[in-house]
Amino acid sequence: MSENLSGGAQPAGMDEIYAEAEQWHVNTGNETIHAKRISGRWRTIKWLAASVWLIFFLGPYLRWDGRQAVLFDIPNRQYHLFGVTVLPQDFWMLSLLLLFFAILLAVATALAGRVYCGYFCFQTVWTDVFTLIEEKLEGNPAQRRKLASAPLTAEKIRVKAIKHLSWMVIGFVTGFSFVAWFYGAGKLWQDFFVGNANAAVYAAVALFTVGTYVLAGWLREQVCFWLCPYARIQGVMLDRTTVVPTYDEGRGEPRGRMQKGETEATRTTGDCVDCNQCVAVCPTGVDIRNGQQEGCITCGLCIDACNAVMDKLGRPRGLIRYASLDEIEGQSVPPMIARPRVWVYGAILVLALSGIIYGLSSLAAIELKVLHERAPLFVQLSDGSIQNKYTLKVLNKTNEDLMVSVSVEADVPVTVTGAEEPIAAKHGEVNPGIVFVKIDRDHLDAESVPLTFVASATQPDGTEVQATRESAFFGPRP
């Protein structure tokens, strides 16, 4: 072996393999990506999608019925959503909600790749804003690179300090707004700056400030490459029909720079002029001309860039465009409606959504639980009748305290003690009560008799609310 290869001689074919290796570039963040900012259709859409995040910042200031419209009050275990109050007992709806969003993400990915990544993901949006600030302070990508390698001057320090400070401020506002959803915005403003909020609040805000600063300021696309699990599983969700930013190879190749004196009629090259604009604008540093790849977040900015070039050259737009692999290869593309995936995903979405709607619309105002005393299971009274003891738990899910009266229904005559007075049920709480049920020995023809407990109350606005619970009465063997 060693004789053959001495002096660096290589067997035939190795050159090609090495050439391929040249192309193989893994972005591990050793080089900061300074993407060029240009305007265009997808850029506008990107801003529109990103602006939805304003709800995150402004939402906590929305009021409803004299309180914060959406408030996740963890200490009191009450979750207010406009007119509805959800208690932990209703949390099965949360699992449906999570299912809904998980499937929505899957549908979106199957149909249009990582649109979520490109337009809406907080990592993308925050990074976008952070780099915008960077551009405003340090200039365009070329100036930024120059500044990075320039010696440390007072001016450089000033610019950098302002940049990092504004990043921190955004991080802080992010954390503050997040906590406001849980703590109440008004209370947070009052407590936070005078040191009256609790440790969890400060810890959460600090975590968010640092997290936002590090993730959007420093890690940026590295998060998408190496940290985000969703980025990793997208590979199994895409197929040949998924619409993603694609370079139309047939049209573009052979790529080549414009030559002096060459006209549209005489050129021997394809439509791609190898101007590298698509790479320059890419926030993750991807060359989309190598095909769809793990780094691409489907943001469409390279489409804007290439279209601008094509416009300048007078060539048709869409050398890079949203297209599926099938479409690019000229295969017939079935309409969306004819794909089984769409139906399966759609059905799950509809199911989850109807579950949530059903849950929200049928939220019971009160709930009743009945625990039968087991020691003793029953007791014989001096008149020979049998008595059972029950602990009641009345959950009042309304926003008002209620007087809940409890009655017992059975096929045999029963005497109920302990329920003469209604139970004062505080709102949002489980209120206990103890009830004794007595049945005459003559009416007991089985070891157990089914009972139905009925709790009912009148709300301040006059509506009747009711909850029932099945239980049983136990006695000695007849």
Partner: protein, 307 residues
């Protein structure tokens, strides 16, 4: 080696074997290294802030068998703080209860809930051994969950019972009455328990033999009733209801009680019926405090719905 590197710019370590077999440097991504060193820094910081190392052999004195950490945090300390917090909450209730009578506690739904919940532990420690965890009683020990009270079921009477204890007494009649008389009386109390009415002959014998002196003129264990509703009793059982003081009850059981009595010293087969006084003794931490007795009174009173 590195001077005549045949593979320049390849990022190798400069170690070669057999001409072209070489060791490459393949550094992990920078963020990975940053995270790695950050974790190392974290553990150093952790070791400074928190208890982490066991003390060297010979240096541990039981208390300080680990490095303390400058925050001084320990899990036992955190636990104790938690207990303090709970106790601060309980103190509010306990203070109110100290000022109130059992009747007033029952009137206040919040305090009643607190009392029932916290006395459950007391009941389990002091009472459940004989009376059962839910007051369901045991052979020889009365049921507390029913409506039959030997010494009265008012709050005052229950307090008295828990504080001072009770000891019933009934003469052993084996030598006093004839076998036929015992038989007749046993049948008489079974009749009473079943339909509340005894034969005239039975009543005559009952009165003649002096049973009414303890069990009362109506055989219901009541000697007299006070204006406040309390009853005067010596703790003799109510013979007219269907609850038997000594189980299993019925003819044989009644005969046994009549023959050998209750708490008769020297009578081997006598019935035991003794409850200790809890204001003086309690197995766990000495006697029960008045506050504990008050809370237990409420608890026992509510077991069967109160009387």
């Amino acid at each position: 080696m590195a001077e005549n590197n045949p593979f320049p710019g390849e990022n190798n370590t400069g170690h070669f074997w057999d001409d072209n077999l070489r060791e490459l440097k393949n550094p992990p991504p920078r963020w990975w290294m940053i995270a790695f060193w950050a974790s190392v820094a974290w553990w150093v910081l952790y070791a400074i802030l928190y208890p982490m190392w066991p003390a060297l052999p010979g240096q541990s004195d039981g208390e300080n068998d680990f490095t303390r950490g400058i925050l001084g945090w320990t899990s036992i300390k955190e636990y104790k703080q938690g207990v303090e917090q709970v106790e601060a909450v309980r103190a509010q209730y306990d203070e109110q209860i100290a000022e109130m009578t059992p009747a007033e506690i029952i009137e206040d739904p919040g305090l009643l809930q607190y009392t029932l919940a916290s006395s459950k532990v007391l009941f389990g420690d002091y009472c459940a051994g004989c009376h059962g965890s839910g007051g369901q009683g045991n052979p020889g020990y009365p049921v507390l969950a029913d409506d039959d009270w030997l010494y009265g079921g008012s709050l005052g009477k229950i307090t008295e019972t828990i504080s001072n204890g009770r000891k019933g007494a009934m003469t052993a009649h084996a030598d006093i009455l004839t076998e036929a008389e015992i038989d007749q009386l046993a049948n008489f109390v079974v009749d009473l328990a079943e339909d509340g009415e005894g034969s005239e002959a039975g009543w005559a014998l009952y009165n003649e033999k002096g049973c009414q002196a303890c069990h009362g003129a109506e055989a219901n264990g009541v000697l007299a009733e006070l204006p406040n509703g309390d009853i005067v009793t010596v703790g003799a059982a109510n013979l007219t209801d269907s609850i038997w003081r000594f189980r299993p009850g019925g003819y044989e059981s009644a005969k046994h009680t009549i023959k050998y009595g209750v708490n008769q010293s020297g009578v081997e087969q006598t019935r035991d019926a003794v409850m200790p006084a809890f204001s003086q003794q309690g197995q766990l931490e000495g006697k029960l405090s008045p506050q504990q007795i008050k809370m237990l009174t409420v608890y026992v009173h509510q077991l069967g719905g109160g009387q």
